[in-house]
Subunit: 366 residues, 4 copies
């Protein structure tokens, strides 16, 4: 099935495997007239890059993007924007062993079950490198959204048991810490925790939060295409994400209606809410306040401890995974969550253009 | 935008407002040759019906379904199955007041913001009655899945602070308790809790779990159409759901890789897992074990306590909602979660038919 | 497969069989705020109705439409518009015989081949009555287009060898002649021709033309979603249509470039064309001039002459079809062509809203 | 809008402009396990290449394809197949002049009208080079279809007034003549006709026919997704095609039912037809006989004669187009028609997998 396409109007199609010659994405449906350069894309791809700290994989990924179509004289033309990143550091020899068995927590077994065989080099299509295309496309979406005053920020809120202190929140910090945490103290504690995980041949999960500001009220649709439903799909489609929350999220189930409802009040001549338990979405439609979502990311499944599994011959075996593996997926997934959210909001912005006759009259002027 | 359609091959389109003449659904893409009668549908719709207990709305909803097309001599023909339920108990006069203001926690404001006006009678399209079409369609999906040995069960696992005891789990109980809980003691405690909420003019949230057995390995697709991504969208598209978990869900973020990975072992000649933290899905593809998901449902936003809000004239006002309102959404949403999951699995089953050349050779025999 | 849905944003889903209890359509994605009543729909359905002349089937089809959702206080709400027409005159007993054999020129055999069996009553889903839903939905599209100064007119240009004289063209005439021809003399000749066909137990084909005025330049997309590609699909999806032409159509293949190119000239301050061989579409995008298309419709396959065929038991047999059958499909298909074109243009109008950043700025005002 | 994607399950997304660095396509949804190499693709791309005769453009297009993903150890993996062709011979300087005016018969004006500006180099996205991606993708579809005994052949049946003699039909000839005609005498006559056109600074249209053998009965869907409707869209989406015919096509409109109906007879134990006026499709579903379609292609709009047009400043001007232009589009479009048909049939083959419960039981074996 054609499962590598996302979005209805602002639509992307990603392609590429971990150890093929290249990975990329085609962005189709981006409106014409948006200023765009490869620098805009590269800035987002660089946020995917492993840092210089000890929690990052030593694999050198110098992901340089080429824009191959859809931009002319510095502006998008309305036709497909094709972007490609060459794979430069793959070493297929690393993966000869795993071709024959199923790593726990990975998609090895399910790929074989589905397709009859798989590209076993580095996880093939289920590798984290698959997100290169998402991030490149999401950078375009984010650039478009900025034209309408919409901005997104994702960051790490917890790693294992270490949580940020919301009183120390500083978004700039999130871009400099190796953990993606917006709290330097929590980040230091998380680094220590991760060092201990590595020492124990283990790995850690964590939580990423994304906030979206400036979204006008009215994006999203009432039933199946609720904005929160699409955000959930977008974020849950990132490998390793196992739960998604909107606004107060899981906390709502233990709460009371009197606490959960957000009162409306007028503010500066506009309808506003005095609290935001809903996370900016009511009935699947943006309400004009900040949109808030969180993704729970599982621990890196590649751990060095011995593990039980089976091989393709149907024999029970014990394995010890080797190679280069981060002890935590979260920091590098931050920008992926942010860009998947950007793609979702951009599509909703375009889809909402046809919501009422009045919108169309503004365009066609009749 | 056309937001009332769900699914790619097994595709449904719902329609209808709370206080219009009828609600319904068109199921297009159901394979031909499935035995189907209105009794199959009615059994699911009856599970949506308010019970006889004090936590249920006194509104009498006798939702009798008519199959208008797509079934001939007791079997589906492969053409669209149109089903309709007449609205019988609507009283528009109830809603004259709310036409002019925005109820906190409801979609009143966002509908107005999006469309310029709204059908204010009983929430219109954002009413819980919108799920009638989902449930009717999901009943068809569930019937289809049974042909392939796939069965689904949803039930309540918590209401406010009251959680079920997994040691007392009995699925049959879930179908008889007013709460949908599979534990009679927890259910009794939850009833008491809800009675207290009602006394306080308040409401409660809760958690619904759905398990899916018999799903063959291989359903779902690697990137954006991951099975868990689609389940998340399906469940998050139900009004009032604010978080979705797959398998261990939110617990993975605080955990370790060594705990989270599920070891593979051979069992009865098949690849099997000794634990199921993943909830039956690896890399977005079913792994042959039980699929597990949970939905966190917010408290009923219609509460009788006084609330602050604004009206359409942009004035701050205080309101007290009247009428018939359940103190909890969860029990009636159980079957909605189950049927949305059924629709998602049915679509994945059909989509997977084209996953490999070998599948097609089995069909076309060349 | 879900093959009963048409359109991307202005999206319709039709349902119903010839001899089921009802037929209908759900229109999802119609912008909010359009004035709409059942009279708007009925006017189009009435154009499908057989006339009072001898070329029309004596079957009485009093197709009264009910709007079941999506309209509130006389305006579309942006939510799905469900419309239903009850079948009133079906007589299943007519069809007992054809259940067992395959009528030449009909879909009897292909339905059996595809689905394993079929609803044989009156053609089931492949009956001409399937177009009831298309016409009802297209009436909504046409009403929307009128808001933007876009109007459509379809009419018959030939029946068998009888062609209209373009010098006698009068659109009002087309609505009153039994043939749908805009030339009373040609219509009279065609009626005589059809009477001869009936006398010979035979039937005739014909050509329908549709012109669309007021379409702004810019609708349609460059590659696969060319406006002419979508119009072709829309029209070819009508049963019995075997060829589609845009502008000069088939004539272009024998012509010269110097004759086929339409020169541009300024006219009233606007870019205009001095001829319109292209039929209003260049590179798949509307050019602001009249859009012109033609559909070639095959003769009614139900003829009373003896025919050779096979039955479900695989025996060669000879049959003589009985019952009520028009000697020509064309007159009743005129409104179907017109409404399918309306649906296509409406969808293109909505899709084009996101074509450039400037459009969105007009809506969102940032 | 995302208009560069075609197909529902076997889905392709093309990208690239005439004078950008490259063009390409992503094929998503191709079943796993199909043997595929770049040679398979190159053979089709080479058929797009201009020949060595005087009717072909002297522009040297050495379109070498790279497969960048989706194939592992010689077989498709089920994940996206990305293919790219570098543009090597573009010379942007050729196009400085046309940036400022609208060539008659081209999409220059409509692109400007839609997007506000355009990539004017060589037609940008509306160039014939856009079909490189279609052909590469269609080569994959054709390879897949061969596994199921389905083969396609397209060829030229007329150029201007010169028609092939069906008695001299030889498909091998079609692959060697510069015209794509399967009749060497007609081809020679057409070459002479085209030489005369060139001498007169003019160009010619023509007709391409495509036949598809081995299609099992049952492909296509009853209403909007009729196989002929999708073939029409596929073929009409090729630039310069202005009419599409299925089977007898336009001839049906002047004919009689008694001539048009194809009698069924048993043949070799199978249901068969003694004639094939329908072109292999009844009620939108393949009937097991040969599928036949024809595309009418307009004359090359780039002609050297002086033409009237307007410029971007809104001034009436006269132009004379220079450069390299074929006097006829048809020969190079033959493979495009064939591959667009292949893509359509491949998608229908996959979609039909879910048509009946029995199909799925063959796959899932329950």
């Amino acid at each position: 099935m054609a499962g590598s396409t996302y979005g209805k109007i602002f639509q992307i199609t990603t392609w590429g495997e971990s150890h093929g010659p290249a990975l990329g994405v085609v962005v189709d449906g981006c409106p014409a007239g948006l200023s765009l350069s490869s620098d805009d894309i590269q800035a987002y791809l660089d946020r995917r890059k492993p840092g210089q700290t000890k929690i990052a994989t030593p694999r050198k990924e110098n992901d340089a993007v080429d824009i191959l179509s859809g931009v002319f004289e510095g502006k998008t033309t309305g036709t497909p924007i094709s972007m490609m990143v060459r794979n430069t550091s793959q070493r297929s020899s690393d993966y000869s062993e795993i071709a024959n068995y199923y790593r726990p927590g990975h998609a090895d077994y399910t790929f074989d079950a589905k397709y009859g065989f798989r590209d076993y080099r580095g996880g093939g299509r289920s590798s984290g490198r698959e997100t290169v295309g998402r991030v490149a496309a999401g950078a375009v979406a984010a650039k478009l959204l900025l034209e309408f005053g919409i901005s997104l920020s994702a960051y790490t809120v917890s790693i294992g048991p270490i949580k940020i202190d919301r009183n120390k929140f500083d978004l700039n910090t999130a871009r400099t810490t190796s953990t993606g945490m917006p709290d330097p103290d929590a980040s230091a504690a998380a680094e220590a925790y991760l060092a201990a995980c590595m020492h124990d041949y283990d790995s850690s999960g964590g939580v990423i939060e994304c906030v979206i500001d400036g979204v006008p009220a009215g994006l999203g649709d009432p039933v199946f295409e609720k904005l929160d439903a699409n955000l959930s799909k977008a974020v849950m489609s990132i490998g390793a994400v196992k739960a998604v929350e909107i606004g107060d999220g899981t906390a709502v189930s233990a709460g009371l209606g009197s606490q959960n409802n957000d009162p409306f009040r007028m503010k500066g001549g506009h309808v506003s809410k005095t609290t935001n338990h809903a996370g900016g979405i009511l009935g699947g439609i943006s309400d004009g306040s900040r949109i808030i979502l969180r993704a729970h990311v599982k621990p890196t499944p590649s751990i060095f401890s011995p593990q039980q599994t089976v091989n393709r011959q149907g024999e029970n075996i014990e394995i010890s995974i080797r190679g280069r593996h981060d002890p935590v997926i979260v920091p590098r997934a931050v920008v992926v969550v942010e860009t998947m959210a950007a793609l979702t909001i951009a599509d909703a912005l375009l889809l909402n253009a046809g919501a009422k006759v009045e919108h169309l009259k503004r365009i066609y002027g009749r």
